[in-house]
C-alpha cells in the first residue's frame, strides 16, 4: 500500500558553493495509506522540491524519505508524479501516452491498449484515444496524465499544482473529478498547491509550510464530509485560519498580492 514517511528532511540547493540556499529544513510527517494530504505554502517555500524528492527525482541533503518503510532512492512507477505543466508527449496519441509506462515495461501492444482504454474511459476520454495532445484542452490533458499514472498501478499519486494552469471553472471541475477518482480507490494522494480553497476542498489533512526555508508550521485535519460546501461556516473557518497562518508568514514585498492570489479561486 502507499505509505509515506519524511524524517527530518532538509534540502540545500547549490551545496558547497558560495550561493547555497536552504529550501527545506527539518520536514517530518507521515502520510497514511489512502490518505489525501495537501501541502500548502507561499511560493518558493520548497513544496515542489519536497514533491520531487518524494517522487525520487531529487534526493534530500539531510534526513530520510520512506515509502512503505523502504528508503526512496530513485523514481519508482509505484509513485507517480503529475506536473503542473502539460507533460503528455506531443508525438504520441492519447492512448499511447496513457500506455507509455506499460510500453517502457515492454508489455505487448494489445495488452497495454486494453488497459489504457479502461483508464481512458475512467477519465472520460475514451473517444479521444486516437487524438494527439495538442488537440485537447488543458483539463483533458491533465486528466490523461492522471490516467497515465493510474495505468501503471501507482498506489501513490503525487501532484504538483496540477490544476494551477487551468481556468477557474475547469479547475473546479477537475477538483471534483479528482475526488471522484480517488474516493474508494485506496490511493494515497500528496497534492501541492498554493490555493487555500483548493486545499480545504480536497484534503483529509493540510500541511502548512513556512516561507523559505520551508518548515512545517502545522498539520490540520479537515473533518468535513464530502462533497464540501464551499460557502459553509466550517469551510470559512478553515479558510480564515489558513489565511492567518500564511499572512503572518509571508512578509516579503509582494506579500499581500500573493495572498490575494492564493484566495483567488472560485469564491472571490
Amino acid at each position: 500500500m502507499g505509505e509515506l514517511v519524511c524524517q527530518q528532511v532538509g534540502k540545500v540547493w547549490g551545496i558547497d558553493t558560495a550561493e547555497q540556499v536552504s529550501t527545506l529544513e527539518d520536514i517530518s510527517f507521515s502520510v497514511q495509506s489512502g490518505e489525501f494530504v495537501v501541502i500548502i505554502g507561499p511560493s518558493g517555500c520548497g513544496k515542489s522540491t519536497l514533491l520531487s524528492m518524494l517522487a525520487g527525482l531529487e534526493s534530500p541533503t539531510s534526513g530520510m524519505l520512506l515509502h512503505n518503510g523502504q528508503p526512496i532512492t530513485g523514481p519508482n512507477p509505484d509513485r507517480s508524479l503529475i506536473f503542473q505543466q502539460p507533460s503528455l508527449l506531443p508525438w504520441l496519441s492519447l492512448i499511447d501516452n496513457v500506455a507509455f509506462g506499460l510500453t517502457l515495461k515492454g508489455m505487448s501492444k494489445k495488452e497495454r491498449y486494453r488497459r489504457a482504454e479502461n483508464f481512458l474511459s475512467q477519465v472520460g476520454l475514451r473517444s479521444f484515444a486516437k487524438k494527439y495532445p495538442h488537440q485537447l484542452s488543458g483539463g483533458m490533458q491533465q486528466r490523461a496524465c492522471i490516467a497515465r499514472a493510474l495505468c501503471l498501478g501507482a498506489d501513490i499519486i503525487l501532484m504538483d499544482e496540477p490544476f494551477a494552469a487551468l481556468d477557474v471553472q475547469t479547475r473546479y471541475n477537475m477538483q471534483k473529478f479528482l475526488l471522484d477518482i480517488w474516493e474508494g480507490s485506496g490511493k494515497t494522494v500528496v497534492f501541492v498547491t498554493h490555493h487555500i480553497d483548493e486545499a480545504v476542498y480536497l484534503a483529509d489533512r493540510v500541511i502548512i509550510l513556512s516561507a523559505r526555508p520551508g518548515r512545517i508550521l502545522d498539520s490540520v485535519p479537515i473533518n468535513m464530509p464530502r462533497p464540501r460546501d464551499v460557502i459553509s461556516p466550517e469551510f470559512e473557518q478553515h479558510r480564515t485560519m489558513f489565511v492567518e497562518y500564511l499572512r503572518s508568514e509571508v512578509t516579503k514585498a509582494f506579500a499581500e498580492q500573493e495572498l490575494a492570489e492564493m484566495l483567488d479561486t472560485r469564491i472571490k
Binding site: L57, L104, N118, V123, S137, I181, S185
Partner: protein
C-alpha cells in the same frame, strides 16, 4: 490497485466532455477558397516566369544579346531533344532508350545527394546521441567537430577525389561531410534543449537512461534535425554539382561543364535550367516529408 476494484471507479465515470471536441485538422479543407488561392498563386508563378522568359526572347529578337553566349530559352530548352550529346564520355551517363538519356544525369545527381544526406543524417544522429549520452566522449570530440564544421563542403572536394577517385563515392562523401558536422552539433544542441518535464515524466514512469534516450530524446529532437537538414539541403546540392564539375565527370554538373568545354552555351543553359528546377522540386519534396513526418507540430513551428 485500480485493476482490483474497477467497479468502484467505473461508477465515478465522467461524462464525455462536450465543449469544442477537437478535430484533427484536415490538411486541406474542402472549402473552394483554397482552390481559388492556389489558382491565384499559380497565376502569379506563370506570370512571373512568363515575363522573365518573354523579355529574354524579345531581347534576342531585337538582336540586343549575343545568342552564342546567351541563347534564348526556346533554343536551349530545345536542346533536350538532342539526346546524343548527353552520351559523350565526359558526361558518361548511360544509354537508357530513346529519350531518357538526360534523365539519367538527373538520377545520378539525385542519387548522390540523397544517399549523402541519408548517411549524414543517420551518422550525425548516432554520433550526437553518443556524445550526449557518454559525457566524456562528447567532451573529447566536440571541440574537433566545432572546428571542422565551418569548412565548406566544396573545400572537401579535392580530398574526396584523391581518396575515392572520380565517381559516386567522392560525390556522396562531399555531401556527407557537408551535413555531418553541422548536424552533429545540431543534435547535441537540441538534446540539451529537450524539455526537462518530458524527461522527468519518463523517469517517474520508470524509464531507464537508455529508454529516455530512445523514447523521449530522439523523438523530441527529430523536428529540429529536419529543419537543419532542410536548411543545408541547398548546400549539399551545390556541393555535389561542384564536385561533378571539377572531377566527378557525370551528372548535372558535368552537363554544364561539357557545355562550356564545347563552347555550347545551349547545353550549358539547359543544364542550369534543369539544376534550378530539380533543386526547387527537391526542396518542395523535403517540405512535404517534413509536414508528414512531423504533423504533430503545428505549421508555425516548422
Amino acid at each position: 490497485m485500480v485493476e482490483s476494484n474497477p467497479k468502484t471507479l467505473e461508477t465515478n465515470r465522467l461524462t464525455e466532455p462536450t465543449p469544442n471536441p477537437p478535430v484533427r485538422p484536415k490538411r486541406r479543407s474542402s472549402n473552394p477558397s483554397w482552390i481559388k488561392t492556389a489558382l491565384i498563386n499559380i497565376g502569379w508563378w506563370i506570370l512571373s516566369i512568363g515575363l522573365f522568359l518573354g523579355i529574354w526572347e524579345v531581347m534576342t529578337l531585337l538582336g540586343w544579346v549575343n545568342t552564342l553566349i546567351l541563347p534564348p530559352p526556346h533554343q536551349f530548352l530545345g536542346e533536350i531533344a538532342n539526346q546524343d550529346q548527353f552520351l559523350m564520355p565526359q558526361i558518361g551517363v548511360e544509354r537508357t532508350g530513346a529519350n531518357f538519356v538526360a534523365l539519367t544525369a538527373i538520377v545520378a545527381t539525385l542519387k548522390r545527394v540523397l544517399t549523402g544526406l541519408l548517411l549524414g543524417f543517420i551518422a550525425a544522429l548516432i554520433f550526437g546521441c553518443l556524445a550526449a549520452y557518454f559525457k566524456i566522449f562528447g567532451k573529447l570530440t566536440l571541440p574537433v567537430i566545432t572546428l571542422l564544421a565551418p569548412i565548406a563542403p566544396v573545400a572537401w572536394i579535392p580530398l574526396a577525389i584523391l581518396a575515392f577517385g572520380i565517381g559516386d563515392r567522392a560525390a556522396i562523401f562531399v555531401v556527407f561531410i557537408g551535413i555531418f558536422f553541422i548536424l552533429t552539433l545540431g543534435t547535441i544542441n537540441s538534446i540539451n534543449k529537450v524539455d526537462q518535464v518530458y524527461i522527468n515524466t519518463a523517469r517517474v514512469l520508470g524509464a531507464t537512461r537508455s529508454q529516455v534516450m530512445r523514447h523521449i530524446i530522439i523523438p523530441a529532437i527529430i523536428p529540429d534535425l529536419f529543419v537543419i537538414l532542410r536548411m543545408n539541403l541547398f548546400g549539399a546540392w551545390m556541393a555535389v554539382l561542384a564536385a561533378e564539375m571539377v572531377g566527378v565527370n557525370t551528372g548535372l554538373g558535368a552537363i554544364v561543364m561539357v557545355g562550356r568545354q564545347m563552347f555550347n552555351a545551349k547545353l550549358m543553359f539547359l543544364g542550369m535550367a534543369i539544376i534550378g528546377v530539380v533543386g526547387y522540386l527537391l526542396d518542395v519534396a523535403f517540405a512535404q516529408i517534413q509536414k508528414r513526418v512531423l504533423w504533430w507540430k503545428s505549421n508555425a513551428q516548422i
